[in-house]
């Protein structure tokens, strides 16, 4: 028994270590890790999760502060961020054991940047990310911290100390992503906007790009690796979308337009599905070609403020009214629409033929996408604290047979 446990732990660790590069390579090994906002390749999909049709609460863990950030899962550990205090100035990173929710460690720091946000959001809005060896946690105050999986501090950045006017009085929410050895952050707002490529091992800038001065809550998305192409990341804004070499910050291609500043893209192989005028599919250009080709545009597919989910050749979006739309990626044709119980702030995630969505009232809904018009397979109401008007605003995370959801007060693990 013990040997088996040790073996599985070692195996899980090895899988975890492989995940960083896995996130950015075409031949990604199957992993149970969920290392960033919307999963291993920022598409909302897990290559290995098994979503239970009738989920039940496996365990829950109280959190010391609010947050919209999603949990991430690396091996046997789940990490989540929070913010608390009268001005949300106390920033926390917490680590729990996946199998039973036992608290493993917690670290606290004080915000060095501005902490003002709209009441509905939080300073802990950005989902942390991992490169398989470290976790990188970003808050709305522009504090960025790197820890190893044991909670040892590796490096810190106070980006407002570095660039004093970069903040949004409504709150920032873009989540960081790792691409190769680079942590990419988008710090975009009305006053001072930039994107940084940060050395994952030292926390120092590899590059800094000036970005459009406009509030932007969308997150950078890694482009799937292609032979002969540098590892790249997509940055979108009100002024369009560009692909940037993650190691150098060099712009590889760009397209002017009006991309969403809330909903983030998904990319599969050589196509980018961009929330712009509904959804727009872009063919990733050959190396040296400066502009992508628009493959199709579908105005009727509207991801609203959430981000789309890409499952194989199917694109799923959910709008504010709770309508889940399934479209084929080939031409953007809508195949079915399914009314769910909304409203949603979190984005859909999925694996195989199943999708999980959690509405703001913490009603978890499992959808069978193989049904001709889609169907709700099961629901689970997570309990909320009515006295505090608690909400569930995060995007769920998937790992193995488990679904992780964070509400204002609690981290929930849901399973069969």
């Amino acid at each position: 028994m013990r040997s088996c446990t040790l073996f599985s732990l070692c195996l899980t660790s090895l899988v975890g270590l492989a995940t960083a590069s896995a996130a950015n390579t075409a031949a990604a090994p199957i992993t149970t890790d969920w290392p960033a906002f919307r999963g291993p390749v920022s598409s909302g999909a897990s290559p290995s999760a098994q979503i239970p049709a009738q989920p039940k609460i496996a365990w829950s863990a109280k959190l010391p502060g609010r947050g919209l950030s999603s949990p991430i899962i690396m091996g046997e550990k789940v990490f989540v961020t929070a913010a608390e205090g009268p001005e949300q100035e106390r920033l926390r990173v917490l680590c729990f054991r996946v199998k039973d929710g036992a608290p493993l460690w917690e670290r606290q720091l004080l915000a060095t940047g501005r902490t003002m946000t709209h009441d509905k959001t939080s300073v802990a809005a950005s989902t942390p990310c991992s490169d398989g060896k470290r976790i990188f946690a970003l808050w709305s105050s522009n504090d960025l911290a790197a820890f190893d999986f044991e909670g040892n501090l590796l490096w810190l950045r106070g980006l407002t100390a570095d660039y004093s006017n970069a903040s949004n009085s409504l709150g920032m929410a873009s989540s960081p992503v790792t691409v190769g050895a680079t942590v990419v952050v988008q710090i975009e707002n009305d006053s001072e906007s930039y994107a940084l490529g940060i050395d994952a091992s030292t926390g120092k800038n590899l590059w800094k790009l000036e970005r459009p001065k406009f509030a932007n809550w969308s997150s950078p998305v890694p482009l799937p690796a292609r032979p002969g192409f540098p590892a790249a990341v997509l940055l979108q804004s009100k002024e369009g979308v560009c692909a940037v070499d993650a190691a150098t910050g060099k712009t590889l291609w760009q397209l002017a337009g009006n991309a969403s500043t809330m909903s983030s893209s998904v990319a599969l192989k050589d196509v980018v599905y961009l929330p712009a005028s509904g959804m727009t599919a872009l063919g990733v250009p050959a190396l040296g070609v400066s502009e992508p080709q628009t493959l199709w545009n579908a105005r009727q597919i509207n991801p609203s403020t959430t981000s789309p989910l890409l499952l194989d050749s199917r694109l799923f979006t959910v709008n504010n009214a709770g309508i889940l739309t399934m479209a084929e990626t080939a031409a953007g044709d809508i195949k079915w629409k399914l009314r769910l119980t909304g409203p949603f702030s979190g984005s859909p995630v999925g694996a195989g033929d199943r999708i999980v969505l959690v509405n703001e009232k913490a009603l978890l809904q499992v959808v069978n996408t193989a049904a001709p018009e889609g169907e709700v397979l099961g629901q689970l109401q997570l309990p909320l604290d009515a006295k505090t008007k608690e909400l569930a605003l995060c995007t769920p995370a998937l790992s193995g047979g488990r679904i992780f959801v964070r509400t204002d007060s609690t981290l929930w693990c849901v399973a069969k």
């Binding site: 501090l153 570095d162 509030a215």
Partner: protein, 370 residues
């Protein structure tokens, strides 16, 4: 004076010689991180070393907290946080007497005392809570909050004159907006008026001039005449004709100066407001601003900060600008720009500004000249 001797003096206790040497060097390394990640690699190695040294490094960490940047303070804070967590898990003794002695010495920097309190709370929440009740007059605004909360709880259980006295005691030490509001509302119900503008030190008497142009936001970067001279008797070309200074007073309880009133509701417009603050002494001060329009603030001709964000939100003390008051007259100039948006939530063209010390205690102008 080296830190070990300094600590001995401050704490009135013998400090182990282990503080000198590599451990102190490591702690100092944490405080030397600079901008854009400078010093991160060395700090990372030092952090591991400091945490491995365990509880004996705690007071040394406190002694160095506040000596570097606020990012450096987080390196120190996270080391202390990890040391306490590990010691609690290993059931190791912690030097809580020394931490408490450090905390209660108000001569230490704010960051260091906040860290001391948080470490004490992490290690022994009951002990921290007991101490927190004594912080009503503490120079650190964040430490006061807990003490005010205790006073408010106590006042709630009283009635009549006893309640008045209890709430007035809470008001005397309250510095946060929410707590002050709670106190003032309770006192109002008891028939006691509270002068909120005076409590917070809001500046309410201004001279205002405008509109100047701000088409496509260009006015924010344009230096209109008030940025080079403040001559209250002069007139200048404005956006739609000559403009001149006019006296304007805020009647808002929280000092909001509504520029739509003297200048009428406008779009793509720039206004300036100026006032004189009479200080009885030369001293450091904070100008705390709340504003949802683009703004610049000058103190005696020195630009303190500028920010061109529009209609994302406003709150009291949204921006804390540090400046030095001179003895006598100080000129405070505010530039406030309105943009082109026409939604109902973009009508506001206003700001609120107060002068206070680092605790949030109002500094009051001895004379209002404008």
């Amino acid at each position: 004076m080296k830190v070990p001797q300094l600590l001995s003096v401050l704490l009135g206790m013998a400090v182990a010689p282990v503080f000198a040497g590599p451990l102190e060097d490591a702690v100092q390394t944490l405080t030397h991180v600079g901008r854009e990640g400078a010093g991160n690699e060395a700090a990372s190695r030092a952090w591991t070393q400091v945490v491995a040294a365990g509880p004996k490094g705690l007071v040394l960490l406190l002694a160095h907290s506040g000596s570097g940047s606020n990012v450096a303070d987080n390196w120190v804070r996270l080391a202390g946080n990890a040391i306490v967590a590990q010691a609690l898990e290993a059931k190791q003794p912690l030097p809580l007497d020394a931490v408490e002695a450090f905390l209660t010495n108000t001569a230490h920097p704010e960051a260091a005392r906040l860290l001391a309190f948080d470490l004490l709370q992490q290690a022994d929440a009951g002990r921290a809570e007991k101490l927190e009740r004594t912080f009503g007059n503490d120079p650190v605004q964040k430490l006061r909050r807990g003490a005010v909360a205790f006073l408010l709880t106590a006042a709630e259980s009283k009635s009549g004159d006893e309640a008045k006295k209890a709430y007035q005691e809470a008001l005397a030490v309250a510095r946060d907006e929410d707590q002050t509001k709670t106190v003032s509302e309770a006192l109002k119900k008891l028939g006691v008026a509270v002068d909120i503008p005076k409590h917070f030190g809001f500046l309410t008497q201004w001279q205002v001039i405008g509109p100047f142009d701000n088409t496509k936001g260009a006015g924010f970067q344009t230096a209109f005449p008030p940025e080079t001279e403040v001559a209250l008797d002069k007139s200048y070309p404005g956006k739609s004709g000559p403009v001149k200074w006019q006296p304007t007073a805020s009647k808002d309880e929280y000092g909001k100066l509504n520029l739509n009133e003297p200048l009428t509701p406008l779009k793509e417009a720039t206004a300036y407001a100026v006032t004189t603050f009479e200080s009885g002494e030369a001293r450091e001060a904070e100008l705390r601003l709340g504003c949802k329009n683009a703004w610049k603030v000058w103190l005696n001709g020195e630009l303190l900060f500028a920010r061109d964000e529009y209609h994302r939100g406003q709150r009291m003390d949204q921006y804390r600008l540090k400046g030095r008051l001179r003895k006598g007259s100080n000129t405070i100039l505010v530039k406030c720009c309105q943009n082109e948006q026409t939604e109902s939530w973009t009508v506001e063209w206003e700001f609120q500004l107060r002068v206070c010390d680092g605790t949030g205690t109002a500094l009051l102008s001895s004379v209002s000249k404008r």
